[in-house]
């Protein structure tokens, strides 16, 4: 889980007047060490706001020694749990057994006060004719306690009860109907109620459901295998069918798998239209794990669909292809039957098309899905809103790849507006990120940033921070940061996105990553690297016009930076380059080559109605301004730059001005409006529109103010806290702390911790 979310949770808890109490039962099932780490983090930072009760059979991997030293830990261990003589006597009395003190003591010694053992003892003794003699025998015996007792107790039950108990031992929970199904009887209800009344084996879980005491379940399982060999998988099979019929899908799948009945299990999943759960986070790991055991010789379209879904969910459309093809052919032979399977097939097809960058196939699959939806049983689609949302998201992504932004937007908006809830959170968030990418590609940096942040916030709300869409969201933020000349921030975002998703899941994300990285490398002056990045190949069936345009733009900018304006023009005048951004880049190159008329012609030829944002229009204006400046028309140049500043202010676009080179600075620096008594219009207007003034990069050695956050970090540094500790204390990531430190070092003109603290103290900054 994301650290910022944990930080917020802890902060929220620590502010509570009365502590929240959280009980985590069966904590021994948690085996991943990072979960214990995160729990320790929240416990530490929530302070008195959180009390946690862990019920576990193994010691959790938490810093228990520290909690003991602090006195914040209360342990209830074996010694406390064990029954004393008096307690044991009370327990036996409740079972109607009154024993002399010595006998109780001996029993406690034999069972070491183990509650379940004592209960079994009482039960066995109660049912034997002569309890006292029986217990004496038990004391003297040598068998393992549970084994002896259970064999005894079970042996004393009537045959029908024994049989029922053995059969239900394959289930975690059961109701009378299900028990009847497994035992072929009709009176399971009465038997279970009786066993529960006698406080034997069976626990009541509420309503009509019962469960076996876990200890008994394991031993009963061993008895089942010994007495009725071969029956176990048959019982699983029957249970699976009953559960499926009753609409309890997860349990039906688990038992179908335990029975090794894969045809049934795959069909249960597909017929329930639940195949989308492979892609919606929560259940996807469970499903993947469950079906990983499916044997390769299982046939049928449903089994092939499940195999394809597994491969697709692991980002391997190539390996999914043959399975999908086989399923499609088998289903085509079926005609109009098996609607759920056909719809699942269309969904997987759309996803596969999206992952391989094949927009035509995605359209085709989506159209087929719309047709099939009419054949689906009513209500089924309502129970699986994720299916429709996933379809729209895949279609939108494929259209985005094809450069059909408006069509893409309508599909993505439909996905993002899909029914709320955790099932649909992932595809909705993904769609928001892709919408943000469209805004960025159209030059609307601010809008793109808002969209990407909304997507990330949505993901965080459901704890899905490392999902598909958030990778793309962060890439959009990185690209926007480059436009604003916030290069360190862009770098950090890029690194995080790459760390979370080493392999980009689809061509859209892959291309977005290349664009963000190449732009960053360009801005840092690493033109060779930028060209190499831009020329990397994104594997896909169909080419993407915008991805190609952006490759050309980067290469052109690199040529320009290295003083080859003629080549720069040629690269972006390729006939495939039809975007406004390309024309602007070509105009800039023309200008650099000394052809201002050609540059202006190109800009004049731009269609006015196109949906281009300030990242493009500001650049166009700067080209015009530079052209005017060259011809000596400084007034016009100045006016154009002012307008560009104004338009850029909203989105804080500093990048285009930095790119334009020194003449802008010169122009602004020598301008008379900076003289005394006059209001600098750029600053004034920027303020008037409520945007930050777009400060130009004045790399002069003036001392910059430390920000509040940088000061926070320095203060903790002075307390000799490590980077990790500072991060934890401020609820931010380690990388963020490093960025703050780096900025603070730069501002203070130092490069070591000690120096930084000293210098900050000298200046009274701490």
């Amino acid at each position: 889980m994301d650290h910022t979310l944990l930080g917020r949770l802890a902060a929220e808890l620590s502010g509570r007047e009365r502590p929240a109490i959280v009980v985590l039962d069966e904590f021994d099932r948690v085996t991943a060490p990072e979960i214990a780490d995160q729990l320790a983090f929240v416990l530490h930072h929530a302070g008195r706001g959180l009390r946690t009760v862990l019920v576990t059979r193994t010691e959790p991997v938490l810093p228990l020694h520290r909690y003991r030293a602090e006195g914040t830990l209360t342990e209830v261990r074996d010694a406390e749990l064990a029954f004393t003589d008096e307690e044991a006597a009370t327990l036996l009395a409740r079972h109607g057994l009154r024993l002399p003190g010595g006998a109780v003591g001996a029993l406690v010694a034999r069972t070491r006060g183990w509650a379940a053992g004592l209960r079994l003892c009482a039960l066995a003794a109660q049912q034997s004719g002569d309890p006292e003699t029986y217990l004496k025998e038990f004391e003297a015996g040598h068998s393992t306690i549970a084994d002896f007792l259970l064999t005894e107790v079970l042996g004393r039950q009537p045959a029908r009860t024994r049989d029922l108990l053995l059969r239900v031992s394959v289930l975690d929970r059961f109701c009378p109907d299900l028990a009847n199904e497994l035992s072929g009887r009709r009176d399971a209800g009465a038997i279970l109620a009786e066993l529960h009344r006698a406080n034997a084996f069976v626990e009541h879980l509420g309503r009509d459901w019962y469960g076996l005491h876990p200890l008994f379940a394991d031993i009963l399982g061993a008895h089942l295998r010994a007495r009725l060999p071969g029956l176990e998988s048959e019982l699983h099979r029957r249970a699976a069918r009953w559960l499926r019929h009753s609409g309890l899908l997860p349990a039906a799948l688990a038992h179908g798998a335990a029975a090794g009945d894969w045809e049934f299990t795959a069909r249960a999943l597909v017929d329930d239209l639940a195949i989308g759960q492979f892609f919606t986070g929560l259940r996807s790991d469970d499903l993947g794990e469950l079906f990983s055991r499916m044997a390769p010789d299982v046939t049928g379209p449903e089994a092939d669909l499940v195999r394809a879904a597994r491969e697709l969910s692991r980002g391997a459309p190539g390996r999914a292809g043959p399975h999908l093809e086989r399923a499609r052919r088998a289903l085509d032979r079926e005609g109009r039957g098996r609607a759920a399977a056909r719809l699942s097939c269309a969904l997987l097809d759309a996803l596969s098309a999206r992952l391989t960058g094949a927009p035509g196939r995605a359209e085709h699959a989506a159209a087929r899905a719309r047709e099939i939806q009419q054949d689906i049983a009513p209500g089924l689609l309502d129970r699986h809103p994720e299916l429709t949302v996933l379809l729209q998201a895949h279609l939108g992504s494929a259209r985005l790849w094809a450069g059909r932004f408006d069509d893409s937007r309508s599909a993505l908006c439909a996905a993002a507006a899909g029914s709320e809830g955790v099932q649909t959170a992932l595809p909705r968030e993904e769609s928001l990120s892709q919408l943000a990418l469209i805004d960025y590609l159209n030059g609307w940096a601010g809008r793109a940033e808002r969209g990407a942040l909304a997507a990330l916030a949505d993901a965080e709300r459901f704890g899905l921070s490392e999902s598909w869409g958030s990778g793309l969201g962060r890439l959009v933020l990185a690209a926007v940061a480059v436009e604003r000349d916030e290069l360190d921030k862009a770098q950090a975002l890029l690194e995080r996105a790459t760390a979370e998703q080493p392999v980009p899941p689809d061509p859209v994300t892959a291309a977005a990553r290349l664009i963000a990285r190449a732009r960053l490398q360009l801005a840092r002056g690493r033109t060779r690297d930028a060209v190499e990045t831009a020329e990397s190949i994104v594997p896909s069936v169909a080419a993407s016009p915008w991805a190609e345009d952006h490759t050309a733009l980067v290469i052109s900018a690199a040529h320009l930076a290295e003083g080859r304006p003629e080549t720069a023009v040629k690269v972006v005048q390729h006939p495939a380059c039809h975007r406004a951004a390309c024309a602007v880049a070509a105009a800039r190159a023309h200008l650099a080559a000394g052809h201002p008329e050609a540059a202006l012609d190109l800009l004049d030829g731009l269609p006015a109605e196109e949906d281009t944002g300030p990242a493009v229009t500001v650049r166009a204006m700067l080209v015009r301004a530079e052209a005017a400046d060259r011809t000596g028309d400084h007034g016009t140049a100045r006016r154009l730059v002012d307008r560009a500043l104004l338009d850029a202010g909203h989105d804080r676009l500093k990048g285009p001005f930095v790119e334009s080179g020194p003449w802008v600075r010169r122009l602004l620096g020598t301008d008379p409006v900076h003289g005394p008594g006059q209001d600098p219009p750029s600053a004034h207007r920027a303020r008037a529109t409520g945007a930050e003034p777009c400060a130009l990069p004045a790399r002069t050695p003036i001392v910059e103010e430390l920000t509040g956050r940088e000061r926070d970090v320095l203060r903790r540094l002075a307390q000799l806290m490590s980077t990790e500790e500072i991060a934890a204390d401020l609820f931010v990531s380690v990388n963020t702390v490093k960025t703050h430190l780096k900025n603070a070092y730069r501002k203070l003109g130092v490069n070591r911790r000690g120096e930084a603290v000293r210098r900050a103290r000298e200046r009274g900054l701490l």
């Binding site: 393992t144 306690i145 549970a146 064999t151 876990p214």
Partner: protein, 65 residues
């Protein structure tokens, strides 16, 4: 890896079926389970199985091949 797990009490044949991958031998009120252990996960799995069957583990050791 081969391991040997010694538990308290005489284990019945039925209960021993809960450890189909191991052999067992009973001696003076104790039962010794022994056999090959595939990896660490298997090892901890065996311990967990002992726990869930209410067995008291007295000793666990790796034996030479």
């Amino acid at each position: 890896m081969r391991y040997e797990i010694r538990v308290d009490g005489d284990m019945s044949e039925t209960l021993a079926k809960a450890f189909p991958e191991l052999e067992h031998v009973r001696m003076s009120g104790q039962t010794v389970l022994f056999g090959p252990v595939v990896d660490e996960a298997h090892l901890y799995g065996l311990l967990a199985r002992c726990q869930s069957l209410g067995l008291r583990v007295l000793e666990m050791r790796r034996v030479p091949e």
